[in-house]
């Protein structure tokens, strides 16, 4: 099973026909997807750095063009931090911790009570895109969501050369 680069590109855009999406869901996974996906994303971003791993719709681990460092980067070009660090600590945050702030986003009674739970919105400091919304109790540490083992993934799981890392 495999799909064309065009189909993968449509998948990313959310414009792939349902029949193909359904096939993707129901058939065994296509082994070349990651490569196609990474390459398709590379054509969509405006920076020159090479994508190592997509993290979310607007965020990537990239290899910087010159220094070959792996960093977390927003698609607007904003560089957050080393890929092993928690990017949220390098973002800007807005915490919905009052009823007024909560009812900006949900009708009355349909948002959490802020003495139990708050919404923490993490934005890119440069472009203001919302990369994540955490919904923890007050006091909760900022969660370091994901520490991918990129070397094992490239080398042992999908048989691609690991991008150089300074």
């Amino acid at each position: 099973m495999s799909y064309t680069n065009e189909q993968v590109s449509h998948l990313i855009e959310g414009t792939l026909d349902w029949e193909t999406v359904f096939r993707m869901l129901s058939m065994p996974k296509d082994h070349t997807r990651f490569e196609q996906y990474r390459d398709a994303l590379q054509t969509k971003v405006t920076f020159k750095d090479r994508i190592v791993l997509p993290l979310s719709p607007h965020m990537y681990i990239v290899q910087t063009v010159n220094a070959k460092k792996w960093v977390v980067k927003c698609d607007c070009g904003h560089e957050f931090c080393d890929y092993r660090e928690n990017w949220k600590l390098h973002a800007v945050i807005y915490v919905r911790d009052t009823e007024e702030a909560m009812t900006e986003v949900y009708p009355k009674l349909m948002a959490p009570d802020v003495s139990w739970q708050v919404y923490r919105e993490y934005y890119c400091p440069t472009c203001g895109v919302m990369h994540d919304v955490e919904a923890p109790t007050p006091w909760y540490p900022v969660i370091h969501d994901f520490e991918p083992d990129i070397e094992t993934f490239y080398k042992d799981w999908i048989g691609l050369p690991v991008p150089e890392r300074a």
């Binding site: 996974k29 082994h31 979310s56 009570d113 739970q117 919904a135 083992d149």
Partner: protein, 778 residues
């Protein structure tokens, strides 16, 4: 000095039964399998799958015959049941086990019971059931004991041993979700009790039938122990019929394919299941560490939570942190270190409910296959610390709605897996999570037929699903615990419950916002009708959300409750006046109240856990089923999608404007979104975000001050205190993250709320003659 515990004497064990005809007890036999598995890493030491490799077609035929038979037995047996939970919702499941109690194959349905019935069989094995009460052909055992692995007491299992030529070769189990278990309050998942002792009729692997016939003492006792004996009787017949069909199927298969092939299959298919999970993980995910967390509000101080124990009257929060480690070989470890302690409520879960139940969820994402068996369990390392809500260390815990916490805990797993799918490019698999499957409308009294009755509306089986990375979640479509969710026909529910429908509508704004939004839930307005001495209560999330959004998407809306008494609807209906109909579309500007008496007693708040309250005919109850979480920044949502949502009343215009930045016009209720103006407005919103935000590390300084000053609600502090009490690791990580002074601590005793259970606890394993079965790392 040898001290003989007098309590251990007189177990009445008879001599060695030699059920396996190999000179081994069942325990010795199971120990051997476990040892070979531990020593080699392959289930039962099966490095080679001899039968599958030598006769792949025969192997597949065996698989198809057995699996087909299991599904067929379920479909046939379910027609015997009268309970809509079983007959309409399909809350039943049949599972086939090998002699050691490991699951070979299961039917469709509530497949959480792959492990729970297996745990019961293992309990019988470990506690020498073969010596007493003995295990013979034609026997039936019934169990629903939550202290040995059942999820909640209303899942009643019938377990039948399978013999071939006088030799025990396996077991078949059937489970149905009964409508009432005779707990303190009616309904299958009630809230009024706070301990096992009020959780309903509890049966521990009891021999309830011989020679394929239920014993009379069992029938008499069990039927009067529950409120709904008619449903109970038919449910039991459903389970027995299914088990006997499957036993015959196995005998047929053996006659046709031979006992040797059958028994080989019964082991190889489990090893194949183990390998299947490893290869799925490698094919779909990414190695690394994923950290997610979920919470559930337990608001018990409110006067509408009337429990019999003063020490249960406190507000607390369930904490379920999960660290998923996906390893190089495709195996994984699920670590819940830091979870909060069990509590005085009915949401505690046995560790098997956790480790087994998880496959219900995984079968909808990582392993969408018919080959669900114990193999996946053997490929997974679970760390569920003893004493937590997911592995209680006290024999008093209540479990009637363990799902409340389980479902929420798994929401975090779904987000972890979805991160992997996203990074790998399998966007079609991404699911932001699941809805908190509630509200649960429950209650009882004298129904429209004049009989003692209990109800549990399974409309909750059709909540909104989480958003995907390429499309919205499904509206009112599914529940995590039963992938074949069905909200049921109004007409059937009206027959089963003395509650008329005044509306059944999609719940606006219930799905979490995002580039792709979560599926919306729905709401039904019910009017009590033709009942006597009727009660109802609410159960669901209200003050908190358990399911977060993903990658910039918002969590779904939280729950709230609406109920109304002394409505005057009887008179309004008689005089042909207007009555409340349809949805509670915008709770900021509610309308139901306009069509009931101004003197009506209305409860409209976030207290979504209540206990049995009195309802008279013509009282109202809003059953709001939750939506799913969203995916991606809402400012990326397509214009047409926003327009559609507004025009179908899935989204209130106010929030289209505030959350999505939509600029629109309205003409006679039809909305039109202006793309260019919206684009401009969105650019402004991004600027507004930056204007109100601060660098995370700046905010952390303020938050740290609040922690140092212990400025947080009691329930938040209580949650942290119980997690700290159970986990030094979590405590240290917390203190390190916030750079707290070494001597900083937070103890339950300083909170001024009852902390029964914080120090003194007693596990089931301390009872005489009891060997508990541990199936996780504690």
């Amino acid at each position: 000095m040898n001290v003989i515990n007098p309590l251990n004497k007189g177990s009445g064990d008879t001599g060695f039964a030699d059920l396996l005809k190999n000179g081994q007890t069942l325990k010795q036999y199971r120990d051997g399998i476990m040892k070979r598995t531990a020593d080699t890493g392959y289930y039962n030491g099966l490095e080679k799958l001899a039968l599958r490799d030598s006769d792949p077609i025969g192997y597949e035929k065996l698989f198809s015959k057995l699996r087909g038979g299991l599904v067929h037995a379920r479909e046939t047996a379910k027609k015997i049941a009268a309970s809509p939970i079983v007959e309409q919702e399909g809350e039943l499941c049949f599972t086939l086990y090998n002699a050691a109690g490991d699951c070979i194959l299961t039917s469709t349905g509530i497949i959480i019971h792959v492990g729970t019935m297996g745990a019961a069989i293992k309990y019988m094995i470990e506690n020498n059931w073969e010596g007493n009460p003995r295990i013979n052909p034609g026997d039936m055992f019934t169990t629903n004991d939550c202290a040995i692995g059942n999820v909640h007491p209303c899942d009643i299992a019938t377990i039948v041993p399978i013999f071939w030529e006088d030799r025990l070769i396996g077991w078949v189990g059937g489970v149905t979700h009964v409508i009432d278990t005779g707990s303190v309050t009616p309904g299958s998942m009630s809230t009024g009790q706070v301990q096992r002792f009020g959780d309903g009729y509890m049966i521990t692997c009891r021999k309830t039938g011989v020679n394929d016939t239920p014993l009379r003492d069992w029938l008499h006792e069990s039927q009067r122990s529950v409120r709904t004996p008619k449903y109970w009787i038919l449910d039991e017949r459903t389970r027995i019929a299914g088990c006997h069909m499957i036993r015959e199927l196995v005998e047929d298969v053996i006659r046709h394919d031979g006992i040797e092939a059958y028994e080989k299959f019964g082991f190889e298919v489990i090893e194949e299941g183990r390998r299947g999970l490893l290869s799925r993980i490698k094919a779909m995910t990414l190695p690394g560490i994923y950290r997610k967390v979920a919470f559930v509000d337990v608001p018990y101080t409110h006067p509408d939570v009337q429990v019999s124990s003063a020490f249960a009257k406190l507000d607390s929060i369930m904490h379920s942190p999960c660290e998923i480690t996906i390893k190089k070989d495709g195996s994984w470890r699920l670590d819940f270190e830091g979870a909060s302690r069990w509590g005085w409520h009915t949401f505690n879960a046995h560790h098997v409910a956790f480790t087994s139940g998880i496959w219900v969820m995984m079968s909808q994402t990582l392993v969408p296959t018919q080959r669900i068996n114990d193999g996946a369990f053997f490929a997974t390392q679970f760390h569920l610390p003893k004493g937590t809500w997911c592995n209680p260390d006290d024999r008093r815990t209540g479990h009637a709605y363990a799902w409340h916490f389980l479902v929420s805990g798994w929401a975090a797993l779904w987000r972890g897996l979805s991160q992997a799918y996203f990074s790998r490019g399998y966007l079609e698999e991404v699911n932001a999570g699941n809805a908190n499957t509630s509200n649960w409308l429950q209650g009882g009294g004298i129904n429209q037929d004049g009989e003692i009755h209990a109800v549990n509306s399974f409309e909750a089986s059709s909540c909104g699903t989480g958003a995907c990375a390429v499309k919205d979640g499904l509206n009112h479509a599914a529940a995590i615990w039963n992938p074949e969710g069905d909200m049921g026909d109004i007409e059937i529910w009206e027959m089963a419950e003395p509650l008329l429908y005044l509306g059944r509508n999609v719940k606006a704004n219930s799905g979490g916002y995002g580039k792709y939004r979560g599926g919306c839930g729905f709401e039904t307005l019910r009017m009590v009708w033709n009942s006597h001495d009727w009660t109802m209560f609410f159960m669901g999330n209200g003050f908190m959300n358990s399911d977060w959004g993903m990658m910039g998407g918002y969590p779904s809306a939280t729950g709230y409750r609406f109920e109304a008494h002394k409505t005057g609807l009887k008179e309004r209906i008689a005089s042909g006046g207007d009555i409340p109909m349809g949805g509670d579309i915008d709770p900021t500007h509610p309308t139901y109240e306009r069509y009931i008496d101004a003197t009506a007693i209305v409860k409209r708040d976030k207290q979504c856990i209540t206990t049995e309250d009195c309802y008279e005919n013509h009282d109202l109850y809003l059953n709001y089923l939750r939506g799913g979480p969203g995916f991606g920044d809402p400012l990326d949502r397509e214009i047409e999608a926003i327009e559609n949502d507004m025009n179908q009343v899935f989204l209130l215009p106010e929030f289209a404007r505030k959350v999505y930045g939509a600029v629109f016009t309205e003409d006679k209720g039809v909305f039109k979104v202006d793309a260019a103006k919206t684009k401009a407005r969105r650019a402004e919103i991004r600027k507004e975000r930056l204007a109100r935000a601060v660098p995370t590390r700046e905010w952390m300084k303020e938050e740290r001050e609040r922690i140092i000053n212990k400025h947080a609600s009691v329930q938040v502090q209580h949650m942290f205190a119980t997690s700290f009490g159970l986990s030094e690791k979590f405590t240290n990580e917390f203190k390190k993250f916030w750079s707290l002074p070494d001597d900083w601590q937070l103890l339950e005793t300083e909170l001024g709320v009852p902390s029964y259970g914080s120090v003194h606890r007693m596990d089931l394993s301390t009872l005489p003659d009891v060997t508990t079965v541990v199936q996780c790392e504690e």
